[in-house]
């Protein structure tokens, strides 16, 4: 009888000890990373309005007004070659002093930063190593290339037509 009681006492004692034991705390130290989309899921083509609104926002870093969007849509509709129409519209926007664009000197002072910022601004993703290298090299080899010309290439690129 005493043996039986003692076993129960021992079991309860073990349970008490286990219940009181604190969990181990682990701390994983990782760097903060912005998660940006890759281009492989961009499968939906922007409508004309979406394209124009995104373009305006990307260049001015502010949203476009309804009236201005309607005007741009109307002018685009009046011309049949959409590719050339976009070229004309963008090259017109790119001479507006109000747009947010680095100077040529700023671009050339920090090519890595410019490439990274351009990919983020227009394609909403990080450049791959190959893309980073290509764009830096072409900028180095072509001193006549200015930020507006790079912006024109990006905004006419097929990836920019999709989201």
């Amino acid at each position: 009888m005493n043996m039986h009681v003692s076993r129960w006492m021992l079991l309860l004692g073990l349970l008490f000890i286990a219940a009181c034991r604190s969990d181990d705390q682990y701390l994983y130290e990782v760097n903060t990373l912005d998660v940006l989309a890759s281009n492989d899921h961009k499968s939906r083509q922007k409508s004309e309005d979406q394209y124009l609104a995104t373009l305006y926002t990307n260049l001015y870093q502010e949203s476009v007004s309804g009236n201005k969007l309607a005007d741009m849509r109307e002018v685009m509709a009046s011309f049949g070659d959409k590719d050339l129409g976009r070229q004309m519209l963008i090259s017109r926007l790119l001479v507006d002093p109000e747009i947010n664009i680095p100077t040529n000197a700023e671009m050339r002072a920090d090519l890595d930063g410019f490439v990274e910022e351009t990919y983020r601004r227009f394609l909403v993703r990080e450049p791959s190593m190959a893309e980073r290298t290509y764009l830096k090299n072409i900028l180095i080899k072509n001193p006549q290339l200015t930020p507006d010309m790079i912006y024109l290439s990006f905004t006419l690129a097929e990836e920019y037509q999709f989201y």
Partner: protein, 432 residues
């Protein structure tokens, strides 16, 4: 009997050879006239007699048609002491009726604007055309580009505006044709408006080799990194070389519009008349094989009969100006051009209840009278001073326009063989 001429072309499809029959002329200008007009006020020259119960007949289309103008209640001209009392001077010494062949009674199988325009451009009314929808069957632009090997800048569609489906009519959704064979489209009343200047003009121009080439190189690189899911961004696909020329053309027009150097008709107080000046510029610069101009201001007849008369009179002025422009400024092209004029639809026999400032009734377009239109052609190889058909003997239909243009430019058999035009369509030359 026309001989057979084989001419090699590099086609947009990649084919390098297209066989065409001999051409009747090298250029066609088609005027879609002019937003729905009644036979009563046009070919029948009844002026107010056929619409407002006033015994005042007369011809207000005196560049197109033989006939004396109305003698009283002149409201269609320019303003004097009274609105519209000064008729616009004739542009042509000889009417187009005398210069060419007139089909007095033609059937327009569709009584809506966009259906009607589609019939003229597709050659069929068998596919329902919804608003804001591209044509379902190939347009004459696509037939010409595919079967005659024309480049995009060889075919132009000039719209007086961009309402509803107009900017969509320069190519169809047909899987064998479509945007690869589209015509260039321009709506000058918008492109060269203040909005056009704000968003299209004065952009930075890039040197084709030193600047545009690396821009294109970067774009190509970016495109290679992206597996696009659609080939279609819509619209005409000019080649890169054509794009440089077209852009230069537009910039030139922006500059000359600013300095008022565009040669316009003597009267230019509506969109049709302004558009025709730019159509003349397109013709001068590109000398296209096919230029289609849509005039549409007469559609005001839904609510204002007085303005309808004025705009119809102005459409006549516009046609006279353009034909005169070609004769006087482009003599080599003039010898090789055929002008076609056809309304896309007519208007009702009976009025709606709306009355205008002269207490005249307005007219919509939905009944059998709206299927009554005329057609005319003038220029190289067109019999002169010939009048065909009448009210009791209709000859021709608006769907004939496609085969007529195809006939003139040497691809009538190829178009007919596709089996997509109306089975009863004929070239107007085959109806003479």
């Amino acid at each position: 009997m026309a001989g057979i001429l084989s001419m090699p072309y590099i086609l947009p499809s990649g084919r390098v050879f297209a066989k065409t029959n001999s051409r009747k002329a090298n250029h066609v200008v088609l005027i879609l006239f002019a937003g729905g007009i009644r036979q009563q006020e046009s070919i029948l020259q009844r002026y107010l007699e056929g619409s407002q119960n006033e015994a005042l007949p007369g011809n207000i289309l005196y560049n197109l048609l033989e006939g004396e103008p109305p003698e009283d209640k002149i409201v269609y001209g320019q303003n004097g002491s009274r609105a519209g009392e000064i008729p616009i001077d004739r542009m042509l010494g000889t009417t187009l009726q005398k210069q060419g062949t007139l089909f007095r009674e033609v059937n327009a199988s569709n009584v809506g604007h966009y259906g009607g325009l589609n019939v003229c451009l597709q050659g069929t009314d068998q596919a329902t055309q919804g608003l804001k929808q591209r044509p379902l069957n190939p347009t004459i632009f696509e037939y010409l580009r595919r079967h005659a090997g024309l480049s995009a800048t060889d075919t132009w569609f000039i719209g007086s505006g961009i309402g509803n489906s107009i900017p969509l009519l320069h190519h169809s959704l047909h899987p064998d044709y479509g945007e690869a064979y589209a015509a260039n489209f321009l709506a000058p009343s918008i492109t060269f408006s203040s909005k056009g200047y704000e968003h299209f003009a004065d952009g930075r121009t890039y040197h084709p080799e030193q600047e545009l080439a690396p821009i294109q190189q970067i774009k190509t690189f970016l495109d290679l990194q992206y597996d696009k899911v659609s080939d279609s961004l819509g619209g005409v696909q000019n080649t890169k070389a054509e794009q440089v020329i077209v852009r230069d053309f537009l910039e030139d027009l922006y500059a000359r519009t600013r300095t008022q150097e565009i040669l316009m008709p003597p009267v230019r107080d509506n969109n049709d008349l302004k558009s025709i000046g730019y159509a003349a510029e397109v013709i001068r610069r590109f000398q296209p094989a096919l230029t289609v101009v849509n005039l549409e201001s007469s559609d005001v007849c839904h609510s204002n009969f007085t303005q309808y008369l004025g705009n119809m009179h102005r459409a006549d002025h516009a046609v006279g100006f353009l034909w005169n422009y070609i004769q006087q400024n482009l003599p080599q092209m003039a010898e090789e051009t055929i002008l076609l004029v056809v309304p896309e639809c007519g208007r009702n026999e009976n009025p709606n209840p709306i009355r205008d400032e002269n207490n005249w009734f307005a007219y919509d377009h939905s009944d059998l009278n709206s299927q009554r239109v005329f057609g005319m052609m003038a220029g190289k190889n067109v019999p002169q001073n010939l009048s065909i058909g009448d009210e009791n003997n209709p000859i021709g239909q608006t769907s004939d326009v496609v085969l007529t243009i195809a006939d003139i430019l040497g691809i009538k058999e190829q178009v007919a063989q596709q089996g997509l035009v109306h089975p009863s369509s004929l070239s107007w030359f085959d109806r003479i």
